[in-house]
């Protein structure tokens, strides 16, 4: 494979890839006086159009993606991204509309946003939804900000947020950003929230419990109602991280479980493409109690016309510019409308079926720390391979040799050497079986030829990279060999 250079390394004087038309206003009107101007942009590339095209095309070929094969990253819900959704979100009237256009000229946009709010409220069983947060982590932060605002409104100063030890790292980080102390709640032997620990930790100083359901082990929090009762009995709120909503759509609703506030990841459950790490969208759904505090603006329908409501005195204000990642929201709306009521339930059903199929097929070959039933994902570990000196990282890297993307390894922290597998509902039997066969072969290789795993991957564009050197002596930009 051709080693693709950095664009800066092929830059040469005299090349260009784009030409602007000559300005049609008088040239002598000139440039502002009393302004410091720059003479040039040092280092900026000068290349021809075909060079840019080949550069990005060649680079693209070194990326693995959902369009290419199974991508079973646990908790990330790497499902198929329907192409029609790109088409409808790309319609010129959406794409070219300025966010500050007079509302009478953007009724279509507002209708689409309003409809999405309504549909997400129905799917989650919550009373109101804000589409503003840019991503899941920002949705979490907004959720906790709402709780804080409501408590302050009641004149309560609570300082603590409870978070199970299985939670994703953004949970404690988001709570901290809202000024809360974080207290960890232990999981029990079933991998769910330990009721005794929760009862003991719950006090009138606790603002909220942040719970993920199904949790990051892929296990449904069976006691969720009891959990909510315990938290509510001391005046706290239940925040649900909706990262794993894909397991529940059409089967049950957080609003019916006693959840007060939830965030969703449209880029997970509702199939909007991950884009190599964003843009996503992290809408927040709330109960009536928290509605007054939602970020501005909200969309209202008055006498058949849509308008933006900025006049909300109790609102936490604004967490980003304008109204959210509009084009992302449109793709999620398209996904919901494509599926309808039966189709939405089927999403969850098949996601759970596929995950249990993998679990059943790999049980015995890989260690399963928690025996509780799995929902949309199952979490194995490297415990059986450890005795051959093989870690989850080695297993992951070897999977790459089989042209399969590895599962999630960085969490949950309560499963050392985790292999968190989430196939999603869109995988075909052929691809599921392909993954299972690869994992089966690797389990055998780990016993017979561990070195094969330790040196994997063998055939990739680059092989294992020195992350220690990258962190010790960071090189964060191209400097033409001059690194000082």
């Amino acid at each position: 494979m051709i080693r693709e250079p950095l664009i800066f390394e092929i830059s040469e004087e005299g090349k260009k890839a784009f030409t602007f038309p000559k300005p049609d206003v008088p040239d002598n009107d000139g440039i502002e006086q009393n302004v410091r101007l720059r003479k040039e942009i040092h280092g900026f590339p000068k290349v021809a159009e075909i060079e840019v095209v080949r550069h990005f095309t060649r680079l693209s070929k070194t990326n693995y993606c959902v369009d290419e094969g199974i991508y079973p990253l646990g908790s990330c819900t790497m499902k198929y991204n329907p192409k029609i959704n790109e088409v409808v979100a790309g319609l010129a009237e959406f794409r070219n509309s300025h966010p500050l256009s007079p509302v009478s000229t953007v009724q279509g946009n507002l209708e689409a946003l309003f409809t999405t709010e309504q549909l997400l409220a129905e799917i989650t069983g919550m009373d109101a939804v804000s589409l503003q947060p840019s991503a899941g982590a920002q949705g979490e932060m907004v959720g906790i900000m709402l709780v804080k605002a409501c408590l302050e409104d009641r004149g309560e100063k609570r300082t603590t947020v409870l978070i199970p030890d299985s939670a994703h790292g953004t949970n404690p980080s988001s709570a901290h950003l809202c000024g809360f102390k974080v207290r960890e709640i232990k999981s029990n032997q079933f991998g769910t929230v330990d009721i005794d620990s929760l009862t003991e930790a719950m006090s009138e100083d606790v603002a909220a419990l942040m719970v993920t359901n199904p949790n990051t082990l892929g296990i449904f929090e069976w006691d969720i109602k009891k959990i909510a009762d315990i938290v509510h009995s001391k005046g706290g709120f239940v925040y649900m991280d909706g990262a794993n909503m894909n397991a529940l759509v059409g089967r049950c609703r957080p609003g019916d479980m006693g959840v007060d506030v939830i965030h969703l990841n449209l880029h997970k459950t509702f199939s909007t493409p991950h884009g190599g790490g964003g843009p996503g969208a992290g809408p927040v759904g709330v109960s009536r109690t928290l509605e007054p505090y939602l970020p501005v603006p909200l969309i209202r329908k008055v006498d058949g016309a849509f308008r933006l409501d900025e006049d909300r005195p109790k609102s936490i204000g604004r967490v980003r510019g304008f109204y959210g990642n509009f084009l992302v929201i449109l793709k999620a709306l398209a996904y919901i409308l494509t599926h309808g009521p039966k189709g939405l339930r089927e999403i969850a059903d098949i996601a759970v079926l596929n995950s249990n199929y993998i679990r059943k097929s790999l049980e015995g070959l890989y260690h399963l720390k928690y025996a509780s039933p799995s929902m949309h994902e199952c979490v194995f570990s490297d415990a059986l391979q450890k005795k051959h000196g093989i870690s989850n990282l080695d297993i992951a890297k070897r999977l790459i040799d089989y042209d399969v993307h590895p599962p999630t390894m960085s969490f949950p922290l309560i499963v050392p050497g985790a292999l968190m597998i989430e196939p999603t509902e869109t995988e075909s039997r052929r691809d599921l079986d392909f993954f299972i066969e690869a994992m089966t072969a690797i389990a055998r290789e780990a016993e017979e030829n561990p070195n094969l795993l330790k040196q994997a991957p063998h055939h990739t564009y680059v092989r294992r990279l020195d992350e220690t050197a990258a962190a010790r002596q960071p090189i964060l930009k191209w400097t033409n060999g001059d690194r000082t």
Binding site: S410, E467, T468, A471, R472
Partner: protein, 128 residues
């Protein structure tokens, strides 16, 4: 492996006292657990440390750990070399990879730490 003249904490810090100055670092066991150290966050000279107070952070590629003061006292020196060569913590944890020196407040606290034979036994217990 572990120097006789050091005292050890359960969090795997060591302290070596000469006069009223204690040199503090992390043990070979601790550096192995952390993996390749990429960055060490050091306290300022003059910082007053209580017993078991966190005085710095050690980062490896995929983990961060606090380091705790095994005895209380005032920081008199920090190992500036770690800024440029954090790998010293891996390569020479008991010598060149020392982290801080402190003026030890009371000798009594040293009594709470483990002598080398006890620490080695403690490690055996952990490895089971």
């Amino acid at each position: 492996m572990y120097p006789d003249s050091f005292s050890y904490s359960k969090d795997h810090e060591w302290v070596h006292v000469e006069g009223d100055i204690g040199t503090i670092g992390i043990t070979d066991f601790a550096q192995k657990q952390l993996g390749d150290v990429v960055y060490v966050e050091l306290p300022e000279v003059g910082t007053k440390l209580e017993y078991h107070q966190s005085f710095g952070v050690i980062e490896s590629v995929k983990a961060v750990s606090d380091v705790y003061a095994p005895v209380s006292g005032e920081v008199t020196a920090v190992n500036e070399e770690l800024n440029d060569a954090p790998e010293l913590l891996n390569e020479s944890p008991h010598d060149k990879g020392w982290i801080i020196k402190i003026k030890v407040k009371s000798g009594a606290e040293l009594e709470k730490l483990m002598p080398v034979n006890e620490y080695e036994k403690y490690l055996e217990g952990l490895e089971d």
